[in-house]
Symmetry: C2
């Protein structure tokens, strides 16, 4: 078994320094911290959990690392997590990895240097040495929204397959065949699960399996716009677009308006994740509502259970579908692509009554 | 002069405990921390700055306390601050006061217990004992977006009066007389400055000074909807609505649609702060773009200057106006209020060409 002495030797620091770093103590330099954490990760050092917990002074502060604080899904999740933490007597410090694995690693190291009792993580996906270092230090961890490969941390995540099934039913009900899909990265569990559920079942819902209709972004808005432009650039003229998160759907709407002009209003939109302005656009955006608040709240509850030595289990949170489209499409979608400009919207997709 | 001995005596703790708390050291209980910080605040204890800085181990971690992480203005500000911090070799821990002074105080105490080198604050407004405690501990502080009464901290804020002047020019150019104003809280500097600039100059721009057209929210969406409903409930039928931040404008749009139905599309909207979907609604929302990214970036630069013993000065960041309305209104607004439903939008406010 690897001991703290091995870690100190590998890091080239004294036993006291290694101990202070791994116990989250004060008076350690940034340099020795990063060396000790790297050594602990390389050696797969696991501190003795219960003894460690007893030694660490409680601070009643929790860490929360989200993937993209500009994504309303995560700001809503963070807000609900804070509220639940406050109810349980904790305050929350947030960090934002900005959908960037290197930044995530830097932030995990920063958290390791702080006096927090545990943390929630919406991970970038891959197993990382920074994450192993933090876990090696005995830090209680719960994952939210996304899973980490090779980790046994309890995870509170949306029911991605169930949500995509709701989208597929809706697309079939609206009579769509030419559907563009702007997916998320396959390296992130939500990206992979939503994509797999969509690609494997779209044919049975009467949706074209043309690979030119499928593209991918990084869950941020600009990437959704770029993916949409690539799909249009391949000559595709979809009657509906399915974005795998709210921000990529926003990007897709922008690209459709820029490339197709007013004809963009005839394209129906559906998003995995509901944003608060989706009801206000023309046409409005229908959406799977994954309950970010519930995920944040359950994540904090599980983390506080772990901190207090209780068991915590993984959970999938079910989704609802918000149908904002007008009356069902009376006609099949046009077989020929619309012209680049001046094509009116179809009456079915834009009734005059407010919704 | 108040010494650390006075603080320890007032808090009823040992000198060593008081010293550990005020130096941000480890192994202090939550109870003794809060007692020491409260005592330091009551006694207005100021640590000896330079000596304190030398004693505190650098962590290369900065704190950022924003008012509402669900407000895109602040998530954009936080994102830019993180990016600049990373460029300068720091990581950032965020906290969210949720427009709530009590939560701000709790978070300031949590930050005081952490090992950070300094922090950025978008304050709730009032001078607080928690803030004085943190400053008394010698923590470098820069304010962003909003000022703190009684604080001399460098502040990077938008040019609120200049931004409102752009809105007033636009309202006059569009021929609006009946304009509803959904303002922010007078206790927060941005709320007070935007309100004062609007109320004091609207008459000279031909805008009605009827007090029934003016209401107030707390910068969050639901409060904007409630304020809009109160204005409509007083029988007002404005031709334009000016929201003092993006989220309250969102709330106002929702309330207009719910109360007026399709006639809501004839009401022009203008917001202080630009949200990324304002171009996509019908009609689109025009906006003062206060550059949250620049404020976040300059805030971090000023904070790092303070940490390194350099001077930092307050700055006002100028605004731009994004005009998303159609051709200028050809006719004066209707003198009689529109009927509750079925009133068509005016052609001028909703041209078919995409923007």
């Amino acid at each position: 078994m690897v001991t703290i002495k091995d870690v100190a030797a590998r890091a080239g620091v004294s036993l006291g320094t290694a101990s202070r770093v791994l116990s989250g103590g004060a008076h350690t330099s940034a340099d020795s911290r990063s060396r000790v954490l790297a050594a602990a990760a390389e050696l797969n050092y696991i501190a003795h959990g219960p003894a460690r917990s007893l030694r660490r002074a409680k601070t009643d502060v929790l860490g929360l690392l989200v993937s993209d604080i500009r994504n309303p899904f995560f700001s809503e999740l963070a807000h609900a997590a804070e509220r639940e933490a406050r109810r349980l007597g904790y305050t929350v410090l947030l960090a934002n990895s900005d959908e960037d694995a290197a930044q995530e690693a830097a932030l995990l190291r920063a958290f390791a240097s702080q006096r927090i009792d545990g943390f929630l993580l919406a991970p970038q996906g891959g197993d990382s040495s920074a994450l192993r270092g933090l876990l090696g230090g005995g830090m209680p961890l719960v994952c939210v929204d996304r899973t980490v490969r090779g980790s046994e941390a309890p995870t509170i995540a949306p029911d991605n397959a169930g949500g995509v099934a709701l989208v597929l039913e809706w697309l079939r009900g609206r009579g769509h065949r030419e559907v563009a899909f702007v997916g998320g990265p396959a390296t992130i569990s939500t990206g992979a699960e939503r994509r797999d559920a969509y690609l494997s079942r779209r044919a049975e819902h009467g949706i074209s399996t043309d690979p030119a209709l499928v593209d991918e972004g990084d869950f941020q808005a600009d990437s959704g716009a770029a993916a949409m432009r690539r799909i249009l650039g391949r000559g595709m003229r979809p009657t509906a677009v399915f974005g795998a998160d709210g921000l990529m759907t926003l990007g897709a709407v922008r690209a459709l308006r820029a490339e197709l002009g007013d004809a963009a209003r005839g394209v129906e939109l559906v998003s995995f994740d509901d944003l608060d302005w989706f009801a206000l656009t023309d046409p409005p955006v229908s959406a799977v509502r994954t309950d970010a608040s519930t995920i944040g709240r359950l994540g904090i509850a599980a983390l506080v259970d772990l901190i207090n030595g209780r068991a915590a289990v993984s959970q999938r949170v079910p989704s609802a579908f918000i149908d904002r489209a007008g009356p069902a499409r009376a006609t099949a979608p046009p077989l020929s692509p619309p012209t680049r400009r001046g094509r009116g919207r179809t009456p079915a997709s834009r009734p005059d009554a407010p919704r």
